[in-house]
Amino acid sequence: MSDMAAESSAPTELPRAKTDWLPLFLVPALALLALPFVGSPSTWVTLTLAGLAMGMMIFLMASGLTLVFGLMDIINFGHGVFISLGAYATLIVLGPLAGWAQADSIGLNLALLGLCILCAMAVTGVVGAVFERVIVRPVYGSHLKQILVTMGGLIVTEQAIHAIWGASPIPIPLPQSLRGAFVFGDVVMERYRVVAVVIGLAVFLGMQLLLNRTRLGLLIRAGVENPEMVEALGYRIRRLFVSVFIAGSALAGLGGVMWAFYRQTLTAGMGMEVMVLVFIVIIIGGLGSVGGCFVGSILVALVANYVGFIEPKLALISNILVMALVLIWRPQGLFPVARR
């Protein structure tokens, strides 16, 4: 960061900040723990890679909410509808460019995916700005009202989706080059999941850079901890709130696109269906922590995959179990943010 002209004023030998590595070891520890139960190493690798990809998609859908929750202290139960809206926004691109999805060209296929993502983020960003102004702003500071009002907003927006695109599920084709899987011996990795991992990692790294290497990121981190003091320093926290809400909605839209191509079917309730998972992830990670959200997403997805394979009957409660165990260990989540 170039914000400090007087780096030379700082001493050369400094105590080092303690990094909390422990939660990061949970993911490899969990993977190693699952190996003997899964049995076959190739199946274990397949499950692990699939879990990582699923974790990235969950992270894409949850990362916006953790920022909104952490910075604005807003419980946005309507977040799921931005996932659905992002998914449906792909139709705006897929309509005129349907040929690109069928083309046997990785370039055209990825360009189509990129356009779908840009379109979805633009649509959900704009709707997010309206949602914040009309629905969220009047209920700042009242959690109960936020839950009720954002649920209302979710229902209204879902019905708007029905009105615009119809109530029936809509199939969407995965672009030609992203179908199928890479096979290495007995290990199978779906191509689309590789794309999801790449996009998830890119978003995570982008958010880390933004939060840790820019003044805007400093403001967001400071605002999560003490919004009143940020205002007293002369920054307009309300504008920051709106920007973060729009960014959070746009990220949900991005997650919606990835989720839509994964399911290859659009339904207005598809966002709401994953909201329990999204809330579990941001609670596990620590409200407002992007890093926690990332680790929590991978953890939840891996557990779901392993348990689903080893003991399918337990798969339904595995995520709740993970959350309970994490909260017993760290009641504020894996990477608690100071204010909370």
């Binding site: 914000d3 030379s8 700082a10 403001l219 003490n226 205002e231 007293a232 320093l233 307009r236």
Partner: protein
């Protein structure tokens, strides 16, 4: 007394159903250090928060440098040149010492000479430069809070009980730092319960009780008058030394 930089006239503040400030009138002259004294619950913190717009005055006026800021938003008040150090210090504990100071410099990079001066006032901050501010002791956090307030030149510093809960050696360091700030020509409104510290620093004194101003004048007069100290503060300077 110099021309007032800050002028409160008949300020009333309500917090919910409670009427906290009852027509507060006082002035803070430019280039001087004004102490705001009073018992717990006298309304000192409310006065500072009302000046900063964190709680809105229900009536009366607050003028800063000739401009009415009574209804201004907190960011606008801060941007007009007022820095605020709250009683709880308001340090961002997840941010490093460096990041706390970077954030306070709104207009861009912190001036090298100014940073040297600040770190000269609070040398302990150098040692923890790249550590999360949450790792600092109470006294070091207070130093960081004040360093952050002066990261850029400001026209007025509002500081709420900077010596509260600090060890005597830290209180003495803080007094020295404030003397240096005074010598640099800063205008300061300082809330303080420690009359020893207040008497060592203040040019002027304003005493509050029950949300009202009960005395305003030169600090020297109060220091020299034990009876007045007893009457206004319930304690004399001797008891604080």
């Amino acid at each position: 007394m110099a021309e007032p930089l800050l002028q409160l006239s008949g300020v009333h503040t309500h917090i919910g159903p409670y009427h906290i400030l009852h027509g507060v009138d006082f002035a803070v002259p430019a280039g001087e250090l004004t102490m705001l004294l009073g018992r717990n619950g006298a309304g000192k913190t409310t006065t500072l928060r009302t000046i900063m717009g964190l709680w809105q005055a229900s009536s009366g006026s607050i003028r800063f440098d000739g401009r009415d800021i009574t209804a201004s938003s907190t960011p606008d008040i801060a941007r007009s040149g007022i820095a605020y150090v709250p009683e709880a210090m308001g340090i961002f504990t997840d941010l490093t010492v460096r990041e706390n100071i970077v954030l306070a410099a709104r207009s861009g990079p912190v001036d090298r000479n100014r940073l040297d001066w600040i770190l000269g006032l609070f040398p302990a901050l150098k040692r923890f430069w790249n550590l999360p501010a949450g790792n600092l002791s109470g006294g070091q956090k207070q130093m960081l809070a004040i360093a952050r307030a002066i990261a850029e030149p400001r026209r007025l510093l509002l500081i709420d009980e900077p010596t509260k809960g600090l060890a005597p050696v830290m209180v003495r360091s803080m007094i020295e730092a404030f003397k240096a700030l005074k010598a640099a020509g800063e205008t300061i409104l300082l809330v303080e319960q420690n009359f020893y510290a207040a008497s060592a620093l203040g040019d002027n004194v304003v005493v509050m009780d029950d949300g009202r101003i009960v005395h305003a004048g030169a600090m020297r007069e109060l220091v020299e008058d034990n009876a007045m100290q007893q009457r206004l503060l319930g304690l004399s300077l001797d008891a604080h030394q």
